[in-house]
Amino acid sequence: MSRQNRRNFRPLKGLQKERTGIPGFDEITRGGLPVGRPTLVCGSAGAGKTLFAIEFLVRGATLFNEPGIFVSFEESDVELATNVASLGFDLNELIAEKKLVLDYVFIERSEIEETGEYDLEALFLRLGHAIDSIGAKRVVLDTLEALFAALPNEAIVRAELRRLFRWLKDKGVTAVVTGERGDGKLTRYGLEEYVADCVILLDHRVQNQISTRRMRIVKYRGTSHGTNEYPFFIDDKGFSVLPITSLGLLHKAPTEHISTGIERLDNMLDGRGFYRGSSILVSGTAGTGKSTIAAHFVASACQRGERAIFFAFEESQEQIIRNMRSIGIDLEKFVKKGLLEFHNARPSAWGLEVHLALVHKAIDEFKPAVVVIDPITNFLAVGDRLETKSMLTRLIDFLKSRQITGMFTSLTSADSEIEDSEVDVSSLMDGWLLVRTIESNGERNRGLYILKARGIAHSNQVREFVLTSHGIELIDAYIGADGVVMGSARSNQVAREKAAEAERRHASERKQRELRRKQEFYEAQLQALKNQYETERDAILVELEEEQKRLKEAADQRLEIARLRKADPSGMKIDENGARKARKGAAR
C-alpha cells in the first residue's frame, strides 16, 4: 500500500528531464529526455537514429559526466567507432576513460536453432554487467528490432521486451531505443507499444531533389513540448536541431548607428548610417553592384574590429575576394585576421530549413555583428515564395534578437517593377536601398535610391553610383532641363556648364578691363584738360595783371599830365581815387 502511495505521489514532482546535450533538442523538449525512462527514436533507414543515439551518449559522457552503454545490434563496435569518428567523436578514448561501453550483440539466425523454452536473461545480464561496470546513467539499444529478425519466437521476444523496458526503468537509466519505421506504424514491430513515455520521429524527406531532415516529438507523456516538425541536420559536428520559429516582435531597438561603409551613403542617411540591428534590403537588377555595397558594408564593419559573416549563394569566397580587390576592397586581410567568415553554398545544396539552420549555427558559433546574405532571391530556387518569406522572417527575427545588422541583397528581374522585391520581404526590412540601372544615350548608369530607412531622416535624392578602383563613389546626379542626367551625359553636361561658366567669367573680366581702360582714359583726359586750363588761366591772369598795370600807369600818366597842365579837377574822372583826389584838390 505504501509503495502504491509512493508511486502515485511521484508524478507530483513533475517529470524529471535529462539534457541530451544535442544542440536544439533540449529546447524543443523543454529540458531533454525523461530521466530513468526509455525513449523511442524511430525513423526510416538513414534518418539518423543511430547518430542521435550515439550523440546522446557522447554528449552525456563529455558534457554531463554521465557514462553510457551502447548496445548495438547492427553495427560492430569497430564500425561504429569508425563511423562517428568523422563527427569528431572519439569513442575509443571514452571507452578508455570508462565513460562508454560499446557492446555489439551479433545474432545470426542461420546459426541458431530453437528448441523449447528460453528467455533473454543473458542479454539482461550482459547489459546489467555493463551498466554496473561503469555506473552508466544512459543506455542505447540500437536497434532492438533486430531481435525479432534473429529470434524465431516472436511471443517470447515480445514478452522479454516488455520485461526489458520495465527492467531498464527499475535500473533507473535513461534509455534510447531506436526502431525502424514500419508501414503505417511508427516502427516495424510496434516497439511504441512498450515505450509509452517519449517517442521521437526522425524523417528524411526529399523534395525537388533536395533533402531535408526533420524531427517531431510524437509523444512526450507528462510534459509540454514543441509539437512542430523541426528541421535538423547532421554535419561534421554531429546532430543539430533547430527550433527556429518566429520570435515575435519583442526585440530591442538600439539607437546606435552603423556605417554602411560608403561615406556619401551615410550622409544620405542623416549622416550616420543605419541603426544597428536593422535589416537592410539592397535590391536591384543584375550587375548593379548589390554585392559591392554588401562588401563595403562588411569591410567597414571589419575595419571597426567587428566580426562579420558573408553568406554567399552565388559566388565562391575566392571569387568575391578577387572581385572586391579590383575595386579596392581588401576582404582577404579581414578573413586572415579572423574577423570575416565566408559561407558559400549553392541554394540547391540544402532545403530552406537547413539553410536557415546553417545560418543560425554559423552565427551562433562566430557571433558576428554584421551579416550579409547575398542574395536572398536565390532561395526561391529551393522553396516557393511563401516558404522563402517565412524563412526570411524567422531569419530577420533571429538577427534582430541578437542585434545583428543584416544586409540582404535581392535580385530583381529586369522586366518587373523595380520596387517589386521578388521575395516580398521589403515590409520586413528597416532599410531599403535600390540600385537601378538607368539607360539613356546608349549607356547604362547606376542610380542609387534610399526607398526606406525607418527612423532616419534620409535623403530622397537619387545619387549616381560609380564603381571606381577605390570602391563605390556616389555622385550627385545632375538634374537638368531633361530630367536626371547620368554617366557621360552628366559629364558632358558638367563640361558644358564649365565652358559656359568660363565664358561668362571671361566676359566679365573683359568688361572689367574695359571699365578700367575707360577710367584710365578719362582720368588722363581730365588731367590734360586741367593742365590746359591751368596754363590758360595763368596766361590770362598774367595778361590781366599787365593790363591793370597798364591802366594804372595810364591813369597815373593822365594825372601827371593834368597836373602838369593844371587841369580842372572835374575833368579828371579816369580813376576814382585819382578823380577824388583831383576833386579834393580842386575843392581846396
Binding site: 546459426e111 541458431i112 523449447g116 536473461e121 543473458a122 545480464l125 550482459r126
Partner: protein, 115 residues
C-alpha cells in the same frame, strides 16, 4: 559448476592443435550457457546430457557457464538467450537456444542428424 575454468584451459590447448583431434573426448566440445540454477537450466542440462550419452558417448565434453557468475562471458559467444548451447567443436559454431526439450531439433542443430 566450479570446474569450467580448469576445463576451459585444457580446451584452449587442444584448440591450438591441428584439426585431427586424437582425443575422442574432445571431438564434441559443447558449452551450455545458463543464468542461475533455474528449473529451465536444470532441464536443459539434463536434456543435453541425455542426448550426448545417447549419440556422442565418449566423444563429448560439456562445459556449463553460469552467466550470473560470469556475465562477461556472454559477450564472447554472443549469448542473448538462456539456455544456449554452443557447439564449439566441431566447427562451425552452432547455437541452440531453449531448454533442449525437442531432441529431434537438438540433433539437427548439432548436425548429428542431417537436416
Amino acid at each position: 559448476m566450479k570446474e569450467p575454468p580448469a576445463k576451459k584451459k585444457r580446451q584452449k590447448s587442444t584448440n591450438g592443435r591441428p584439426q585431427e583431434v586424437s582425443e575422442q573426448a574432445n571431438r564434441w566440445n559443447l558449452r551450455l550457457y545458463v543464468a542461475g540454477q533455474t528449473p529451465r537450466s536444470v532441464t536443459a542440462f539434463r536434456n543435453l546430457k541425455e542426448i550426448c550419452e545417447e549419440y556422442l558417448k565418449g566423444q563429448y565434453h560439456i562445459e556449463v557457464i553460469d552467466l550470473m557468475e560470469n556475465p562477461t562471458l556472454a559477450r564472447g559467444d554472443q549469448i542473448l538467450a538462456v539456455p544456449t548451447l554452443v557447439r564449439k567443436l566441431p566447427q562451425p559454431i552452432r547455437k541452440i537456444i531453449g531448454d533442449l526439450s525437442n531432441t529431434e531439433r537438438v540433433l539437427v542443430g548439432l548436425d548429428i542428424q542431417p537436416r
